[in-house]
Symmetry: C2
Subunit: 344 residues, 2 copies
DNA sequence: ATTAGCACTCTTAGCACTCGAGTGCTAATC
DNA sequence: GATTAGCACTCGAGTGCTAAGAGTGCTAAT
């Protein structure tokens, strides 16, 4: 049994229908509601064929058919067409572009919020990777006896901070001097380079401060590596709108999965760099997302900030619409990020 | 009909029972499972009395009784006793105290995580108020042509950043000089003072930079005021464990309420400064939390960081246990925050 | 190749029924 | 006078049955 043109058209009709209704679609309703000039019996035959090929599944005998992950894959690969956006959707996007923000974190938060609001799915945004961005300034600010706050600023316009311990005999002037020295020496180097070379190079100059520098390096390393607050999540509870999650148990496991930022980080990390990715159901690495689809987009700003964002929803997702929205968002994000600097 | 001692004992037994089981408790089971030497009939009479007084409610005739908010209020006001912690609970607390963190944000995250893990309710943590903490350092770092990052460090050990626009003719040296001037002049002043006086005072010195300073002030103001990322939330989905939220509709409205950080911010803000607060069901201002209880505690560190944290759960909450945990946490939080500076 | 027709399957909604836990009331008991 | 045993009554949850509806596969006719 091979795939032919008519089978494709039927499959597509089934998918379109199922995406809207979430109800298994049967041969009769299909022949009634579409303009194939075919009887239900013919469609039944074709459906049986499609099931044999693995594109359709039957929840139980005498129920309609449901598209398999394989079907969705075919769908997005070869029959997807961009959807027009509605008034409402455009309005949210426009509002998003006009929003006043003053830090990269805020941009991420707004992006996630808008995405989830438009799509009604769950939105995730991955912050630009710290370790690949370049140092602009490092400042050590004394806090109390024996402790200081280290603040690193990068070209992506983000600051990271960490409280560090300092030798009790270290003076304010010395801290200032070290800050200046590091800033000067490592200006425009990537953070990972800084972490790598700091001790070796400056340790030679300031022998007696070597252990302090070591601890500083450790902090930088850890802070650059920790992906914890690099993931922004919004609209997790949107999933509860969809009938496939009417079962509280399922909803719970989805929400638990999504509350764990490590899973999300891996997800986005993997997709970073790809213009768009679509991962369907069982294609997901994470066990817990096996009946979700993930669509992501990456943005790039000059050779500067680079991040990824996307949405998570049921496999029965409006792929066309989502892609259009992500595309739009991708373009706007650059604008908003640049805008950071143009609006006050 | 007045309240007497026996009524109190019965009411208490009902509350204790209901907190554990979430099932309306009836006269028979109560006389069976407790050591009142009373028949179910007597208890029934007393229960009718308690209902008349507004302490009990009946979901429908021929169901057991459920404590009213008023009953819980009485319970926490006059019959509450601290609960012992279990092994598991202590273990989590211990792990919490040992955790290595290097920024206030991380402390908040860990606190929220641990709280929700121990209690199985939803935890919220409010970050120390920015505008009341004192400036330690202000740094303007040039990013690109016409823009810079302003980073303010406070005595609470947190840094806040914002991208600002700068006049194109402003040199690196001038930025540096302004940073130094502001830091020097406003060292140890509260952020709100800085925002208030900056333009007036320094504007006089740097007349030609007045508009720049104005925009900087605006940024500081806004950044200090924005409560957005000052609230840390954890374990929102824990609520799904409880039978009162088995209805997806209810769960959805709870989660929506809790996803809105403004609501939470108001909640915690109001409780800040109070050692402990307990707000029961309808006592909540927020419409959406009318069948939840909120328990909060505030911490203070010297006259330094001051924040609030708490948990949200069903009105049928283990108040005794929660209070004990919050008390413990309150003590540990100081330790952890100080520890920020002692561990590397 | 298509389709009409038919027998069969499976889910869902509705209905009557039972069972258990709970209630209020009254009369007997301590 | 307080307590309790007893009784009739109510309500919700669970059970079993039936009928309706949607869908299927197969076969024979077009």
């Amino acid at each position: 049994m091979a795939m032919d043109n008519r089978k494709l058209r039927i499959l597509r009709a089934i998918i379109d229908e199922y995406i809207l209704s979430a109800v298994p679609v049967g041969s009769k309703s299909l022949s009634r509601n579409t303009d194939f000039a075919l009887s239900s019996a013919t469609i039944r035959n074709e459906m049986a064929g499609l099931e044999g090929l693995g594109y359709l599944e039957q929840p139980h005998t005498s129920a309609g058919r449901v598209p398999s992950d394989k079907a969705y894959r075919l769908y997005v690969d070869s029959m997807l067409q961009r959807a027009k956006l509605t008034e409402r959707e455009l309005a949210v996007l426009q509002r998003y572009c006009g929003v006043r923000v003053s830090s990269v974190e805020e941009v991420m938060r707004e992006t996630a919020r808008s995405l989830s609001e438009i799509t009604n799915y769950t939105a995730i945004v991955l912050m630009p990777e710290m370790s690949e961005s370049r140092l602009r300034h490092l400042q050590l600010v004394p806090l109390a006896q024996g402790s200081a706050l280290a603040v690193a600023v990068t070209d992506a316009g983000v600051a990271r901070e960490a409280v560090i311990r300092i030798p009790p005999d270290m003076s304010v002037e010395e801290l200032e001097q070290i800050s200046r020295m590091i800033t000067q020496r490592y200006y425009n180097r990537t953070i990972s380079t800084v972490a790598e070379r700091l001790v070796v190079e400056i340790g030679e100059i300031l022998r007696e401060r070597k252990s302090f520098l070591q601890s500083l390096t450790g902090t930088i390393d850890r802070s650059a590596a920790s992906g914890t607050h690099l993931v922004e999540l919004s609209g997790a509870t949107n999933i509860l709108h969809y009938p496939e999650y009417r079962d509280v148990q399922k909803a719970k496991s989805f929400l638990a999965a999504v509350e764990n930022k490590d899973t999300l980080y891996d997800l986005l990390k993997q997709a970073s760099g790809m213009e768009f990715t679509i991962t369907i159901g069982s294609e997901n690495k994470a066990e817990t997302l096996r009946d979700c689809s993930v669509v992501t987009a990456s943005y790039k700003l000059g050779d500067l900030a680079l991040g990824t964002f996307g949405i998570i929803g049921p496999t029965r997702m409006q792929y066309g619409k989502v892609l259009t929205i992500l595309e739009y968002m991708r373009a706007s994000l650059g604008e908003v990020l640049t805008g950071l600097q143009d609006k006050e």
